[in-house]
């Protein structure tokens, strides 16, 4: 059964803007993106919104719904009361291009700073092999759809623009962790993660995990393990002593 939904959509660009009110007819079972498309089709043909798959897999339609970073296509209207006004704004951590569309190039710049996978030489038959247990460990990290909601909600850059130069953000700590745990990778990313990527800036308040639409446990399975790996390298005398006594590099140990 359909009803009239009240929406407030942010309209504007870098020079300014405001929340504009709309009332749009919606149907049972629809998502916020459906309502926005109907506004676009019937009332505001110039409304800018980025979207693609409508299935929560492309990571394009990231925005903030009633102040919470979410995917427009995965937020059901049934999550709200029919009489409730739904407010949609662009992600507030990134520069806006227009209306609900933001410039997320910050993330692409940070992606370039992560050293690429550098595998060990192949076996004699030319293949590289991994056991299933080692393959499974990284699968969770590969679920990332790069919607950048974790980056958007991270207060390190959301509330402090000047940290952007020295902080890679949770999405890329995920990448650092994935590669650092990869059994065939030869790089030691711990120093880089703590230094250039700004791992120490994270105070593990878990907002990245809360907003992840893929339910990746970013904090518990990527950021904290990376912090612990940095502790191995810099702050744990037992690990340091072990590496000296056994005369082995920490990296080669495992």
């Amino acid at each position: 059964m359909g009803y009239d939904l009240s929406m407030r959509l942010w309209r504007g660009d870098r020079s300014g803007g405001e929340l504009a009110d709309y009332v749009v007819a919606v149907e049972e079972g629809e998502v916020v993106l459906d309502a926005i498309h109907r506004v676009q089709a019937t009332q505001a043909g110039d409304l800018a919104v980025r979207w693609n798959c409508k299935a929560g897999k492309c990571g394009s339609c990231s925005a903030e719904i009633n102040g919470r970073p979410r995917l427009l296509c995965m937020t059901r209207l049934s999550d709200f009361e029919p009489e409730e006004t739904i407010t949609v704004t662009p992600m507030r951590t990134f520069p806006v291009i227009r209306d609900l569309v933001t410039d997320v190039s910050y993330n692409y710049e940070k992606a370039k700073e992560v050293p690429a996978f550098a595998p060990t030489p192949p076996d004699k038959d030319g293949n590289r092999r991994m056991m299933q247990a080692d393959v499974e460990r990284g699968q969770e990290f590969r679920k990332c759809i790069e919607c950048f909601l974790c980056q958007d909600t991270c207060h390190v850059i959301r509330d402090h623009d000047d940290n952007k130069s020295s902080f890679a953000g949770p999405r890329f700590f995920l990448r650092y962790a994935e590669l650092d745990m990869h059994p065939l990778d030869t790089n030691d990313r711990r120093k880089l993660a703590q230094g250039a990527a700004g791992l120490g800036m994270c105070n593990i308040t878990k907002c990245c995990t809360e907003v992840c639409p893929e339910h990746i446990k970013i904090t518990d399975n990527a950021i904290i393990p990376m912090k612990e790996r940095v502790v191995d390298r810099r702050y744990d005398p037992v690990v340091w002593l072990g590496s000296k006594i056994l005369r082995r590099e920490q990296r080669n140990e495992t």
Binding site: G17, R92, R158, G200, P225, V231, T254
Partner: protein
């Protein structure tokens, strides 16, 4: 002052948050409970009395290692002769340090006490932010050291729970409500301690090849299961340790009698 939500090029939205839910409830509850615990623990730690009622020794004072300890409470002797303040202060620094540097507690108190941030997508009030890169917060990296100490403290509390199966005359094979409280407390303490993120890393998380270390991989899996409930055990063990201490206090003060089962 650093530019936050109104930083260069961002959508000009003046509100610090547009959230409509009760986002303030969780940090407010955390603040109240943690503050209450800190006040209670500080009072109990500094009093230096009413912490031993045979056969129960308050977990705040265990092990009691100074010459100031009440008679019968020093199960490990009194090697510390130079300490004149409450014996609890020497011991509590280890579990306190463990919890203060715990990844879960950090999340909780950064949100509730420092409002950094108070909740997700709610702007924090601070002009500058350097995270855990500088003193004193860089000391959070010592969490693992405190974990090593917490394992020792857990072993001592286990010993205390075993000793609680005695009666007032020191005879074995008895049990009271205090015994039950001590056992539940030590179980929760272990569930919290062994679910620690540092423990998870040490037992197997630091490996690159799970497949080459099947035993450690199995242990890592077990610790990971505990780790998923780390926050729950952090809270439950916080309550249980306070309840265990309060029970001993009330017994020692003569307010209540120990309910003996057998």
């Amino acid at each position: 002052m650093t530019a936050g939500l109104l930083g260069a090029g961002r959508a000009r939205i003046p509100q610090k948050t547009l959230r409509k839910d009760r986002w303030w409830l969780a940090p407010a509850a955390t603040f109240v409970v943690f503050a209450a615990f800190v006040v209670y623990a500080t009072w109990r730690a500094f009093t230096g009395e009413l912490y031993y009622a045979k056969p129960y020794l308050s977990p705040f004072y265990s092990p009691c290692l100074t010459t100031e300890c009440l008679e019968g409470s020093s199960d490990f002797g009194s090697p510390i002769t130079w300490w004149a303040l409450s014996p609890a202060l020497i011991i509590l620094v280890f579990p306190l340090g463990f919890r203060m540097t715990c990844y879960y507690y950090r999340k909780a108190y950064y949100r509730a006490f420092w409002l950094s941030p108070p909740a997700c997508a709610v702007a924090e009030p601070h002009g500058k932010y350097s995270g855990e890169t500088r003193f004193p917060l860089i000391l959070q990296n010592l969490h693992r050291w405190f974990w090593y100490a917490a394992v020792a403290v857990g072993a001592v509390l286990t010993f205390d729970a075993v000793l609680a199966f005695r009666n007032e005359d020191g005879e074995w094979g008895h049990m009271g409500l205090g015994t039950l409280i001590f056992v539940v407390n030590v179980v929760l303490i272990w569930l919290y301690t062994l679910g620690c993120h540092s423990c998870r890393h040490i037992v197997g998380g630091r490996l690159r090849h799970f497949s080459k270390h099947p035993v450690r991989y199995r242990l890592w899996g077990l610790v990971s299961k505990l780790n998923e409930k780390h926050a729950r055990y952090a809270w439950l063990s916080l309550f249980s340790v306070a309840i265990a201490d309060l029970y001993v206090y009330l017994l020692a003060r003569g307010t209540i009698e120990d309910l003996r089962f057998f």
